[in-house]
């Protein structure tokens, strides 16, 4: 580090020491997490797992991350929950030094109203880890790695009231377990044309979008929904990539564990102008997300129900239905198999039950009645009457239909859903959105219908049309980039249409 870097640190430290602040800690439900790793233990762990930065300046920045100056970076940011390096296999001296450093840092963070959670990278003595965390005045622990379920259970037991958050690889393993905060590994949000990936698509092909929106919404089937944290580390990320990661998690009510890459953090510490600007933009997206927390209370909108069975062994395949239906812009709600009641299905126009394999006698009766009353049921071969050659057969049942697939797969079903359902069935239909994923929520009587749109290309999209079933009096578009604007409403054969002139990255249209 150069002299100017040290000077700027000293100046910052001076100002920080002049502005002590003690604030109440936010409740876990309001935690906005940021990965804030550093100290000697982080370097030791990185050395072990061979991810130590090559640049000495970057290593130096990580080593000194728990100097109070770094707290100043959070001065104007909604991020209020620091995930700090806490436990990993290392030399006892390194371990002790790290814990002492973090303890002092956590005290300073607490004074600023910031929660501090300790990252545990590898299993160890659960009692010791919990006791040390208690002494370190941490607000919780985050398990970040692969852990045996026995260790996780033991840690939760000895942690008492201290929150233990496990970052899971697979959402399905957590979906049916009640927890105040669920953390799950996600993807780096992005989109690419198939041709860029060397894949020759079809005329109907759309860009390959990596998104976590489906993942967050997959937990929103109970009440209240848990807080969902998405963990992903972006690679070679631009400013817009970071902003997109925030928006992608937040659109359906989740939160991205803000994770800046090492080089960016080193430059941030050095007060690099362009990086500070990137950090401000990221913070503006966090602010936009956190200023719309009321939308988290809106349940996902959808006339299509996708029924999931917690007992099914292949949960990853079941998740693909949720992922690919979201990509095809199908507004759906998740229905747990146990929640499949006459009253529950009355709120749907269509049910995808390919994961009920086979449906029980009572479920079959319920679904048959649903179809006879005008509903659409999409079933797998266990329903009976599957075709021998065609992908599916459509059977008229009373006022409705049952579609029986020979061999359903998520990609084919998601693609077909778009054509099997009318606009009325879908309720919300977006046009000109090849690089966009939409997420609709609310829409119950007395509630606004909120349609959020997220663009996964770096280029803006122009002239997106939303066609919504029903009559509305106003439509207001809000984006992190500009002031809210009212969109003109059009009648379209009894439905309502609005056009969004330009979507840079994230927009929310509220229809009332």
């Amino acid at each position: 580090m150069g002299i100017s870097g040290w000077c700027s640190r000293l100046v910052l430290l001076f100002f920080l020491s002049c502005t002590p602040r003690v604030s109440a800690l936010p409740a876990p439900g309001a935690w906005v997490p940021v990965r804030w790793t550093g100290g000697p233990l982080e370097l030791a762990w990185r050395t072990q797992v061979k991810t130590l930065p090559a640049d000495p300046a970057v290593r130096d920045a990580l080593a000194h991350w728990y100097e109070p100056a770094t707290l100043g970076l959070l001065e104007d940011s909604p991020a209020n929950c620091l995930l700090v390096t806490w436990s990993a296999p290392a030399d006892a001296g390194v371990h002790a030094k790290q814990q002492q450093l973090v303890k002092v840092y956590a005290e300073a963070a607490h004074k600023r109203g910031l929660a501090v959670l300790g990252l545990v990278y590898a299993a160890g003595d659960a009692s010791k880890i919990a006791a040390e965390a208690e002494r370190g005045a941490l607000d919780g622990l985050v398990l970040d790695g692969k852990f045996a379920s026995e260790f996780t259970a033991a840690l939760r037991k000895v942690a008492g009231s201290m929150l233990v958050v496990e970052i899971a690889d697979q959402a399905a393993s957590l979906r049916w377990k009640p927890a105040p905060i669920i953390a799950v590994a996600g993807v780096s949000p992005s989109a690419r044309n198939l041709s860029e990936m060397g894949i020759r698509g079809a005329p109907s092909s759309e860009p390959w979008i990596q998104s976590n929106i489906w993942l967050v919404r997959s937990f929103a089937f109970g009440s209240p929904s848990p807080q969902v944290w998405i963990s992903s580390q972006l690679e070679n990320a631009s400013t817009i990539d970071y902003a997109r990661a925030v928006a992608d998690a937040a659109a359906a009510g989740g939160r991205w564990i803000v994770s800046l890459d090492d080089v960016l953090r080193a430059k941030l510490l050095a007060r690099d102008g362009s990086v500070l600007e990137a950090w401000r933009r990221l913070s503006s997206y966090l602010k936009f997300a956190e200023s719309h927390t009321a939308s988290r209370d809106l349940a996902p909108y959808g006339n299509v129900g996708i029924v999931l069975d917690p007992a099914k062994t292949n949960q990853v395949l079941a998740d693909e239905y949720l992922n690919l239906a979201a990509r095809r812009q199908i507004p759906y709600r998740v229905v747990a198999r146990s929640g499949l009641t006459t009253a529950a299905v009355a709120n749907f126009r269509a049910l995808v039950i390919t994961e009920l394999d086979p449906p029980s006698a009572s479920e079959r009766k319920l679904l048959q009645d649903f179809a006879e009353n005008g509903g659409l049921v999409i079933a797998g071969p266990s329903w009976g009457g599957a075709p021998k050659t065609e992908p599916f057969v459509e059977v008229q049942v009373g006022k409705g239909r049952v579609i029986v697939y020979k061999d359903p797969d998520p990609e084919a079903v998601a693609r077909d859903l778009k054509e099997l359902f009318s606009d009325d069935d879908l309720g919300v239909v977006p046009f000109n959105v090849p690089s966009v994923i939409t997420f609709a929520s609310g829409g119950s009587p007395g509630q606004p219908l909120l349609v959020q749109l997220l663009n996964y290309f770096d280029h803006p999209v122009e002239a997106i049309t939303l066609r919504v079933t029903g009559k509305f009096g106003s439509a207001r578009l809000e984006t992190p980039e500009g002031v809210a604007v009212d969109l003109p409403l059009r009648d379209a054969d009894g439905k309502t249409e609005v056009t969004i002139p330009k979507l840079v990255l994230w927009g929310a249209v509220s229809l009332k």
Partner: protein, 403 residues
């Protein structure tokens, strides 16, 4: 060794009689006939933000005026759409559909000329209940209402099915057909007094070119034919009962031979009164972003003519291609992805041997219009001044200042 005509060749030959270039006739094409040759207008237009309505009025005048044919008449415009998606930063209308502002301007121009009714036509719908052509246009980011309001009466019809008609129209090939003697089509292709093919100037993976002749492929309704690929491209199945059967079910099934002839048959069954080629922004290397190696381009060209074959020939020349090129010459030596074509649709050898016959020469041989630049009166901007060399751009060989 490539035998296509390069930009340099064109510049060298520009002072000579273009028709004197040594070219072979397309394989299988009949002897050159005295096919009609009418004026074609070429314009250099840099962006879609220009006053395109005035531009089209000027070009219509350059080809002798269309006022009397349009006034008080029903005009059908077959617009060139295809699959969706897009290159980053481009809309479908920029690169692989005709641009909505071109459509709006053409509609406005026809409206100003007194057209009674203008129908925008394309076969767009799939299985989705209640799907309309307007939905497809919205999916490309079109301002449908602006187009609807550009003339007193503008209608949209998805011609993949019956639409507003009660039955399909049977349109017979005028003259001697190659493959199909007639086609069953949506009523709008018969119920119009003035028919316009509004195509995009772009490459095509299997046919080499998409302009105004190729644009007509989309008038064949899936409601009748079920699957264009199996019935028309490959001839794997015959047209369903009730639809006109092909003349010789044992004829060559290779799409490079078969489809250009079918395209000429379609043009013979539904002659075009006005051909408009949109090359203001376009793409090279394929007909949509799904084709590997394709990319956007900014040729800045508009071409308008009364005769569809003449217009395509001139448009092809402005794209840097020899409109009389034989199979295996650019752009008709094609590069088909082996993974997305049935094995029997790939010529023995390797991809170097894939080809398409020149649909313009086949149409010329059928007497539908001349593909001979020496016989076509090009008005407006000369071809050599309008030219954007698609092949060079595709191969990254174009001088930077021109690309």
């Amino acid at each position: 060794m490539r035998q296509g005509v390069t930009r340099r060749d064109w510049l060298a030959l520009s002072g000579l009689a273009v028709g004197a270039m040594a070219v072979r006739p397309a394989q299988g094409a009949r002897a050159v006939s005295t096919a009609p040759a009418e004026p074609v207008s070429v314009a250099k237009v840099r962006t879609y933000d220009q006053d395109l309505t005035t531009q089209f009025r000027k070009m219509f005048d350059q080809i002798g005026g269309i006022d009397s044919q349009v006034k008080g008449k029903t005009v059908g415009i077959k617009v060139n759409l295809t699959g969706g998606g897009g290159f980053p930063g481009y809309t479908a209308g920029d690169t692989h559909w005709v641009h909505p502002r071109v459509v709006g301007a053409v509609v406005a121009a026809f409206g100003a000329l007194g057209a009674k009714r203008i129908r925008i036509l394309e076969s767009a719908g799939g299985r989705k209940p209640g799907y309309k052509l307007e939905d497809k246009l919205l999916s490309g980011g079109w301002d449908v209402n602006t187009i609807r309001n550009a003339a007193p009466l503008v209608e949209f019809e998805d011609t993949n099915a019956l639409g507003q008609g009660k039955q399909y129209s049977l349109l017979k090939v005028q003259g001697k057909p190659y493959v199909f003697p007639a086609f069953q089509l949506n009523h709008s292709y018969e119920d119009c007094d003035f028919f316009v093919s509004l195509g995009k100037m772009k490459n095509h993976e299997e046919m080499g070119l998409t302009i105004c002749i190729k644009n007509l492929f989309g008038i064949t309704p899936l409601g009748v034919y079920g699957n264009r690929e199996t019935v028309f491209h490959y001839g794997q199945v015959q047209a369903p009962a009730g639809a006109p059967a092909e003349i010789d079910p044992k004829s060559n099934r290779y799409e490079g031979w078969r489809l250009p002839r079918i395209l000429v048959d379609i043009l013979g069954a539904r002659p075009v009164d006005l051909a408009i080629a949109d090359g203001i922004v376009s793409m090279v290397g394929g007909e949509g972003p799904w084709v590997l190696g394709s990319k956007p381009a900014h040729p800045g060209i508009l071409v308008v003519g009364r005769n569809c074959v003449n217009t395509d020939a001139v448009a092809a020349a402005t794209m840097g291609y020899n409109p009389r090129a034989a199979r295996n010459e650019a752009p008709f030596r094609v590069f088909k992805d082996p993974k997305s074509h049935p094995p029997e649709q790939l010529q023995p050898g390797d991809e170097m041997f894939q080809y398409a016959d020149n649909m313009m020469l086949l149409a010329e041989a059928a007497g539908l219009g001349s593909a001979d630049l020496n016989k076509i009166d090009v008005r407006g901007v000369p071809v050599k001044d309008a030219m954007f060399d698609y092949e060079a751009f595709w191969k990254n060989q174009m001088p930077k200042e021109q690309s």
